[in-house]
Symmetry: C2
Subunit: 173 residues, 2 copies
């Protein structure tokens, strides 16, 4: 599946603006994201990610491929639910992957038409929004739709870096 | 968890012998096992295994570490349930693992005291039995118990090779 995603730093009044556009609250999730690096290629260089996300409702393993364009952070994404994230972490470490970073965030999700808008309070980084569209055939159209929502929220500048990359930047790595 | 396991080629009358020792039928499972190899170390050389097992009841990812002794095939084993084995296979391939082999078998399981006896009809290899004991603290005692069950079944010769290794041998790889 191709996930079209755009992201921006968020001002404090963003939730009111999302409501003003007709966005409807979906819910709030707490994410504990464990990122892994490969023993034989550096995912920071190849622009890939391998992540275990632990939420209240359960855990998932997700692979994200390299970004597909220069404007958004759209990429191929593969996900599987797992029942035991600790066992999965041990398996990944046993076959040579190493934990690269941990990202904690509180995500408040809104639905706006076909899009999902996530307001993320990320520990150590601040607040961001991500606009996601997925599942459609025409990803150029989805990309325009996602960038249009950012513009309507008054957020012109899209960030293509992941939270993992932003945290590494912040820590001077 | 340490899994103590011994294995032997099985004669045709083995199920009657298991019943004669007091073994109780647990059930029959069909296994489709996909084995993967690592891009940076050869699991055939390091005596490790990474496997997706697909059964009627669901799928699991399992890592098996190198064997722990010279008499049995006891080893560290880590397992996680997954909801989508196809997606997991794509994730493993995306991060560089390659499918090394597929093993299909029909497993009939019996309980005998603390042990589980599996009678495996393996496509392309024939019939085998595996005696498993796990969860205990004293794995030397479990090993003796498992080898004793083999002896009581009249099977003196324990095989330490996995079905993957036996299939590779059969194919002259």
């Amino acid at each position: 599946m191709i996930e079209v995603e755009v992201k921006a730093r968020s001002p404090p009044d963003i939730e009111a603006k999302i409501a003003g556009l007709g966005g409807e609250l979906i819910g709030v999730e707490n994410h504990l994201d464990l990122y892994f690096n490969s023993p034989f290629r550096d995912f920071a260089q190849t622009d890939e990610a391998l992540r275990i996300r632990i939420k209240e409702e359960g855990a998932r393993l997700t692979y994200k491929g390299p970004k597909l364009d220069s404007e958004t952070k759209s990429r191929r994404e593969l996900t599987v639910r797992v029942d035991d994230p600790k066992a999965l972490e041990s398996i990944l470490e046993s076959v040579g992957f190493s934990r690269a970073a941990v990202v904690k965030k509180r995500r408040t999700k809104y639905a706006l038409g076909e899009a999902v808008i996530a307001v993320d309070e990320v520990e150590g980084l601040g607040t961001f929004i991500e606009v996601e569209l997925s599942g459609g055939e025409d990803w150029e159209a989805q990309k325009r739709a996602a960038l249009d929502i950012l513009a309507r929220l008054g957020l012109a500048e899209s960030i293509r870096k992941s939270y993992l990359e932003l945290l590494n930047d912040a820590e001077g790595r």
